[in-house]
């Protein structure tokens, strides 16, 4: 069930009604029942049981950390983590391993090839598997005690608004939110609904239009005689904006719905295109994944390498160099896994993973050179123009890398960018843009929608939540804005009879 489907909103409305009808102490059971029902409706009993087993594995793994005072059964939490990881890889990343194994087999004389598994993955496995791994590790590292009630671990795993698209949550953060009953808060409820509306606007009005442009540019023509020059750059920019609008719209819906239950979820985006460097973009883009990767991959790997090889390396390379090299190695592991998580394909590993490793590490290594160059040229890095330049540079580099994810494969991604090296600026003015699947009216509706998002993003940076700001305005203005938002979605949105909104991009990861 898509989170923009009418059925989903009916389901949510019914859940809300029941939630607030029950006494406070029982309200989290309503959430649990709704989440279980949602899961079973969405993917059936078998996959629900699979998810339950994984939640049970995590529960047992975490509980053994506390039970095992003698440290004789320390392997059990590790096995739990491995089990969850193996299930995640089996369902989501097996294509990557089978493809690469078959590719390697191609160099041998044997005709044997692995068959591609055709498994249907449980909903949201990419999200809840990482959350469960994080939970076991946190308990193992002693950050907080293991949960005694297995049903609460189940709810943490399958909380229905968050299940399909995240955000990735931490058990200690959610413990105080999911498992307590929240009283009805008028403001929070209204803000939640407003945020859902804003998410729908991003998804149905903007992302769906961008999807049409992107599909045309990256469509069948891309393989042969297709587009070239600036239109490729335009297509890549559209794709990156589509991903942002699609994913941040989904998170707005998820977080908005959670807020109507009184549950404040972590944010996943913080105006990423206002970032001035690639590393900053990753601190603003899919933040919960970035922080998860930092806390559960990068820091532990760095710590492990330091313990094992730190002293040896310090002896040979010096303290600073060895520290940097260990940091870069841990970053390499992190970015590889982040790329792999996006879907088992080299285009993601290189585009969404290793590229950033190269750029960020390259930036760090070359930092002294860039600094001396700026000093030599007397560049004022405090100026407005420098700020704009760094934002544009970051956006373009981010676009360059992430756009590989939209190409058919890594090779096509390179072919695509090679075709971009044609100078044809006239396509911006000769009506070509109106021949990419959107007519003039739809195109300008898209531009208007993006301007509104830009305006709201700017306002959020300056004064925090726009919904709080809106709540302080007089009723006529406030309602005019809200009616405008509602009818923009209802009239300009791509939905309804005979139209299937494109699947959420991050729903496929």
């Amino acid at each position: 069930m898509s989170i923009v489907a009418f059925g989903f909103f009916c389901f949510t409305a019914l859940s809300l009604l029941l939630y607030y009808c029950f006494p406070l102490r029982l309200r989290w059971y309503v959430l649990l029942a709704a989440s279980v029902a949602f899961y079973i409706i969405g993917c059936g009993w078998a996959l629900f049981l699979c998810m339950c087993v994984m939640a049970a594995v995590a529960y047992i793994g975490a509980r053994f950390v506390e039970w095992d005072d003698g440290r004789r059964l320390q392997w059990i939490p590790v096995v739990s983590i491995l089990l969850v990881t193996v299930v995640l890889i089996a369902f989501k990343e097996s294509t990557f391993f089978v493809n690469n194994a078959n590719w390697l087999l191609g160099f041998t004389n044997r005709s044997f090839r692995f068959h591609m598994p055709n498994w249907i993955a449980p909903i949201g496995i990419s999200y809840w598997a990482l959350m469960l791994i994080g939970y076991i590790l946190d308990v193992k590292w002693g950050k907080y005690p293991a949960e005694k009630n297995p049903v609460k671990v189940l709810l943490f795993t399958c909380y229905f608004p968050q299940m399909t698209l995240g955000p990735l949550t931490r058990f200690d953060d959610m413990r105080g939110k999911l498992f307590v009953g929240h009283p009805f808060e008028y403001e929070g409820f209204c803000h939640g609904i407003q945020r859902v509306g804003w998410g729908l606007f991003k998804k149905l009005v903007i992302a769906e239009r961008l999807a049409i442009l992107v599909s045309t540019i990256y469509g069948p023509k891309a393989d042969g005689y297709g587009y070239q020059g600036l239109i490729i750059v335009f297509g890549a920019m559209c794709y990156i904006l589509q991903v942002l609008m699609d994913f941040s719209g989904a998170i707005d819906i998820v977080n908005g719905i959670s807020q109507t239950f009184g549950i404040v979820m972590p944010e996943n985006f913080q105006q990423p295109f206002y970032a001035q460097s690639l590393s900053e973009i990753w601190r603003r883009w899919h933040m919960t994944l970035s922080f998860w990767a930092r806390d559960y991959i990068m820091y532990p790997v760095q710590r492990m390498l330091t313990i094992r090889y730190g002293k040896t390396m310090q002896r040979h390379m010096g303290k600073k160099n060895s520290r940097n090299i260990l940091l870069y190695l841990s970053m390499l592991a992190t970015w590889f896994i982040v790329g792999l998580w996006h879907n088992g394909d080299w285009k993601y590993i290189c585009g969404s993973g290793l590229f950033f490793f190269v750029m960020i590490v390259g930036g760090l290594v070359l930092q002294p050179f860039f600094d001396s160059l700026k000093n030599l040229l007397h560049v004022n890095t405090e100026s407005w123009s420098w700020c704009i330049w760094t934002r544009v540079r970051s956006f373009l580099l981010f676009t360059l890398s992430v756009s590989f994810g939209r190409a058919y494969d890594l090779a096509t991604g390179f072919i695509f960018w090679r075709r971009a090296l044609v100078w044809n600026p006239w396509i911006l003015f000769d009506g070509t843009l109106f021949k990419l699947g959107l007519d003039g009216k739809d195109f300008w509706a898209l531009v208007l929608g993006l301007c509104v998002v830009l305006l709201v993003s700017g306002a959020q940076i300056r004064q925090g939540s726009t919904r709080v700001w809106l709540g302080k305005q007089n009723i006529v203005f406030r309602w005019a804005i809200l009616f405008g938002l509602c009818f923009a979605v209802l009239i300009l949105g791509f939905y309804g009879e005979g139209y299937n909104p494109a699947d959420f991009i991050y729903g496929g990861f």
Partner: protein, 522 residues
């Protein structure tokens, strides 16, 4: 500060609205939202010809004064093109109304009747039987249901329909906006101006009591069904079921029921037989105008009374209605509503209807002499400004009959031997108000003036030797066909638009019998 943090901070420290505000405010918001939604939905429902007719016939149904419809006519486009309620009113004083919509499915006819019976008590229901053996699409169904007001009947019909395979979803029927939201691109400022009922802004077709007037003649001849065989077409099972329900409903309410099939070239003997069998089985009167007997009795003609292969034009409708009127009045007695003040709303549109019938008559006139008399004589002609402009030449092949017609309307020019002469004439209110013949073949003529409604006109005539053109501009639009011979444009001061533009090429033999009318666009 993140959004989440700022929300929490405000919730904790902000000013809490009072309980009344917290209850009344959302309720008011929801009410206003649904009112706005209803308005927007209405604007987004398409405005093409089919939808326009459905709006007139279905939406307006509930706005009519209660118990003022004696006869309700249901069916598809063949019903509202073949039955003219004002013909019955003029002759018998019967108040009737077409409630047909394009390709109206039988299920929609049934629920339309149910909806009608909430406010009206018709004595007779007439159904055009095409759908008993034909099929309809989802769009045909929607044209009725989407325009029905919210009611139990609407809910019933939606629930019954959406259970069928391939139908649109229940949601799209409850909120039609989800179906039609993509039509926002077709909205213009005109969409938000209330267009008067009766006049379709897309085609300028006029409607009177649900009857859609169309001019133009198909021209091709066909043969009515002369000899009936035994073969029978298959019934549309769903239609058959609903037709039985309609018949049953009429019996329960004591309403007379009549089936008919309008004239069309596409009707078959098998479909007639199937419909006749149903009528016989249910003891219903059935009249098929495609069968020779009724065809002859109604004095119908395929080339004259059809405007395409499936629909009658205004004249075909008038003949059909007059024939049905005789049948109806012989089977059932009706009160004469002509002087009844409750029916004043019905009578109010009669002059307009008669005027447009007259307009259609001139639009289909082929003979020049008859045309000249039609645009200058009678009450309706008082509304016309008629411009005559000659291009090339207009002196040859003018029959004595045409010459007499010219003289009768007040034209003094003798066209004989005026080969390649320019000529202009303006007739207003049935009288010649300007006329000029060139002094020789080398002189071109022009004239300007103002119509009674204030619109300006500018006309020019140039014979073959001095420019060879005809221009008849009303406002800024040149309406002349600019063809050889007499170019005539008729401007209707009541409707404030050109209603006909025609040429008689007098260079050709028998030309005065062969008008070439220009298709009129809004």
């Amino acid at each position: 500060m993140t959004i989440a943090q700022s929300v929490c901070a405000t919730t904790k420290t902000g000013i809490r609205p009072s309980l009344t505000v917290r209850i009344v405010s959302p309720l008011l918001f929801v009410v206003l939202f649904f009112l706005a939604l209803s308005y927007i939905t209405d604007k987004l429902i398409p405005v093409d010809t089919h939808w326009f007719i459905a709006r007139e016939n279905i939406q307006r149904m509930n706005r009519l004064p209660k118990n003022t419809i004696d006869i309700a006519v249901l069916g598809g486009s063949t019903s509202y093109h073949s039955f003219s309620p004002y013909e019955l009113y003029v002759k018998y004083g019967i108040s009737s109304r077409c409630l047909g919509t394009s390709n109206q499915p039988m299920s929609a006819s049934y629920y339309t009747l149910l909806e009608l019976l909430k406010t009206q008590s018709p004595r007779m229901v007439i159904l055009e039987a095409e759908k008993l053996t034909g099929s309809s699409s989802e769009a045909d169904f929607r044209r009725v249901v989407d325009l029905m007001p919210i009611s139990c009947n609407k809910l019933h019909v939606i629930l019954a329909h959406t259970q069928m395979e391939g139908s649109d979803s229940l949601l799209s029927y409850i909120f039609p906006l989800t179906k039609f939201n993509s039509t926002w691109k077709e909205l213009t400022y005109k969409s938000f101006i209330n267009v008067p009922f009766r006049v379709n802004p897309a085609s300028n077709e006029t409607m009177y009591a649900g009857f859609v007037m169309v001019s133009g003649q198909h021209g091709k001849d066909y043969s009515p069904i002369a000899k009936l065989g035994d073969e029978s077409a298959d019934y549309n099972e769903e239609s058959l079921d609903y037709l039985k329900q309609i018949v049953e409903l009429c019996r329960e309410r004591g309403i007379q029921f009549l089936l008919y099939s309008s004239l069309r070239a596409t009707w078959t003997e098998q479909r007639h037989n199937a419909t006749q069998a149903f009528a016989d089985e249910n003891n219903i009167r059935y009249i098929d105008f495609n069968v020779k007997e009724a065809f002859m009795a109604a004095d119908l003609s395929y080339p004259i009374d059809l405007w395409d292969t499936a629909h009658t034009n205004t004249f075909g409708a008038i003949k059909t209605t007059r024939f049905l009127g005789e049948v109806i009045t012989s089977a059932c007695s009706f009160l004469d509503r002509r002087n009844d003040p409750d029916y004043a709303y019905f009578a109010a549109e009669l002059p307009d209807y008669e005027h447009w019938v007259h307009v259609e008559r001139i639009q289909s006139e082929k003979n020049l002499a008859s045309y000249l008399l039609a645009v200058t004589e009678g009450a309706d002609a008082l509304d016309y400004s008629v411009y005559i402009s000659v291009k090339d030449e207009a002196s040859r092949n003018i029959s004595q009959e045409v010459g007499e017609a010219f003289n009768k309307i007040g034209v003094t020019t003798d066209f004989a031997d005026k080969y390649h002469y320019s000529y202009l004439c303006v007739i207003g209110g049935g009288k010649v108000i300007y006329e000029k013949l060139a002094s020789d073949a080398s002189e071109a003529l022009s004239h300007t003036g103002v119509n009674p409604d204030g619109s300006a006109y500018a006309i020019e005539s140039a014979g073959y030797e001095c420019g060879n053109r005809s221009i008849i501009k009303v406002g800024n639009v040149d309406a002349s066909r600019n063809a050889r011979g007499f170019n005539i444009v008729v401007y209707d001061n009541r409707a404030r638009r050109v209603v006909d533009s025609v040429t008689w090429d007098t260079y050709l033999p028998d030309a005065t019998e062969q008008a070439q009318h220009k298709a009129m666009t809004p």
